[in-house]
């Protein structure tokens, strides 16, 4: 590598023990790194919100009355939680699901295609994943907040 042949060259940062407060804000992740850590964050988010997801399933499916309660949660709110906050949480879930799904399909593609395991494909597919998940979240979020 160049820094071995050229000791007078630019000093590159070394990370031996990553400090969450000192290093993470300056640590520059490549696109594939962002897809990877967001895959974990989105999965954990859906895991923690699982009771809310099942609550929505329960209310939306059990009876006409509970279905009305389900739809009114998005406008009138849920107990002390205002409707806008319910929508915001659901928007977070939409992003988490879409990102986790597309990043997962990228994983499956790489598992089954040898030519897909390259630096170039890793980068380009990561950018496509990020663009698609953010794009779909914006489109579905606009519908959720009644923009169309």
């Amino acid at each position: 590598m160049s820094h071995v042949e050229n000791p007078a060259g630019k000093q590159r940062p070394e990370f031996r023990n990553i400090n969450a407060f000192k290093d993470l804000p300056t640590y520059r992740l490549p696109a594939a790194g962002w897809v990877s850590i967001l895959h974990r964050i989105s999965g954990l988010l859906m895991f923690l919100l699982l009771p809310f997801i099942i609550w929505m399933f329960d209310k939306s499916i059990s009876s006409e009355i509970s279905f009305a309660k389900f739809t009114s949660a998005f406008t009138l709110g849920l107990g002390f939680v205002p409707g806008a906050l319910v929508k915001l949480v659901v928007l977070g879930l939409i992003w988490a699901f879409v990102h986790h799904l597309i990043a997962g399909l990228r994983h499956l593609w790489m598992d089954t295609h040898h030519d897909a395991v390259s630096k170039e494909f890793g980068r380009s597919s990561a950018i496509v994943t990020l663009a698609l998940s953010v794009g779909l979240t914006v489109v579905l979020g606009a519908k959720l907040f009644g923009l169309y």
């Binding site: 954990l44 895991f47 699982l50 099942i54 399933f57 939306s60 399909l105 499956l108």
Partner: protein
């Protein structure tokens, strides 16, 4: 499975790596199929989607069976994923064990609730 006795026995690792790696992919594919079935059913519905359409979607025996499979798949899939997160970031053994027990209880309880909702329909 690996040999766990005699001179050929494997003495390193936890031996669930390959099994869980495959299980996570199989359960993921099942959930993708479920997502496609729900999405296509809703897209090809005539008129507005109200309670009747939505609950009717899950009332058929095929959809009930598929949803049950997906509930179990989701539990296993989430268990593998969340356990990986705890193993990577949580180093103290006691805290890790507590989080792993919490994850199992959380997932089993959620799966039970989801099954209850599904089968009383």
């Amino acid at each position: 499975m690996s040999v766990n006795f005699g001179s050929q026995r494997t003495v390193v690792g936890a031996h669930y790596g390959w099994r869980d790696w495959l299980a996570q992919r199989v359960t993921a594919v099942l959930m993708v199929i479920f997502t496609l079935v729900v999405l296509l059913s809703l897209i090809f519905t005539q008129g507005p989607i109200g309670y009747d359409t939505w609950s009717g979607l899950f009332s058929g025996q095929f959809m009930k069976a598929l949803t049950l499979v997906v509930i179990i798949s989701l539990g296993y899939h989430a268990w593998v994923g969340v356990r990986d997160i705890w193993m990577d970031y949580i180093k103290p053994v006691g805290v890790r064990l507590a989080l792993e027990i919490f994850s199992i209880v959380w997932l089993v309880a959620c799966a039970g609730w989801a099954v209850q909702v599904l089968w009383r329909l």
